[in-house]
């Protein structure tokens, strides 16, 4: 059973296009995340949702808009794609625990290439 799944796995598109990446988790977690991993493997958090409510927004350009229709899904829509958006985007989920972050479970990643 896939715990955290993302679609599509690969996405090649032209500059200026709008695209969406979908994420679903079947772990019953209440918190979901989007991370961006650049070519140097640096992993940076973009957004976090807890029970469909945005709790972290890390100064990401407003071309990126997350949407959480329910707590098992967190989608990422990107408008007007730029070359610098090329990266691997990871979705993750976790429980919220008293005394710090719980274990995060990551999806397989979506490799976005903007031409």
């Amino acid at each position: 059973d896939t715990a955290v799944s993302q679609t599509p796995k690969y996405l090649v598109t032209q500059m200026g296009n709008d695209k969406s990446i979908k994420c679903e988790q079947n772990l019953g977690h209440d918190t979901m995340y989007w991370y961006k991993q650049d070519s140097k493997k640096f992993l940076k958090i973009m957004f976090s949702y807890n029970n469909k409510e945005l709790i972290i927004n890390e100064t990401v350009p407003n071309r990126f808009s997350p949407k959480s229709p329910d707590k098992a899904h967190l989608n990422l829509h990107i408008n007007s794609l730029e070359l610098g958006d090329s990266a691997v985007y990871f979705c993750a989920s976790s429980t919220r625990t008293v005394g710090g972050m719980g274990t995060q479970y990551f999806g397989p990643g979506t490799r976005l290439l903007v031409l």
Binding site: F42, L43, I45, S48, F90, R96, G99, T103, F106
Partner: protein, 114 residues
């Protein structure tokens, strides 16, 4: 500098040797976690150590935490070719808050030669 910096950036060893990776961070933390990422895959959680713990073991993994030095180390004993991957530490905090945000280090790329 980034919260959660690992060193070395790259490590190459022979199968059977031990591998040690270090992580340093800047702010107080609630806990620190180590993750592994195989090439082309997502991150997989290895071990979590809380700020009031000093050492933790899981199979061939040993993690230490020194909050006075704001550093942690991950030791993999008797390494195998399958341990080849990138290893990341992730910190959350500041301590006694529930900010719900992990900050990942830059990672150490480990290559284990058969």
């Amino acid at each position: 500098s980034q919260q959660g910096e690992e060193d070395p950036q790259a490590l190459s060893i022979q199968e059977g040797e031990n591998a040690t990776m270090n992580c340093s961070y800047k702010t107080s933390i609630n806990n620190l976690q180590w993750y592994r990422q195989n090439s082309g895959r997502g991150l997989v959680h290895l071990i979590l150590i809380r700020s009031n713990e000093r050492e933790k073991h899981s199979g061939r993994l040993r993690v230490t935490l020194d909050t006075s030095k704001k550093s942690s180390s991950l030791l993999i004993t008797a390494s195998r070719a399958a341990d080849t991957a990138s290893y990341f530490c992730a910190t959350d905090g500041p301590r006694n808050t529930n900010a719900g945000k992990s900050t990942f280090g830059d990672g150490t790329t480990l290559t284990v030669k058969p």
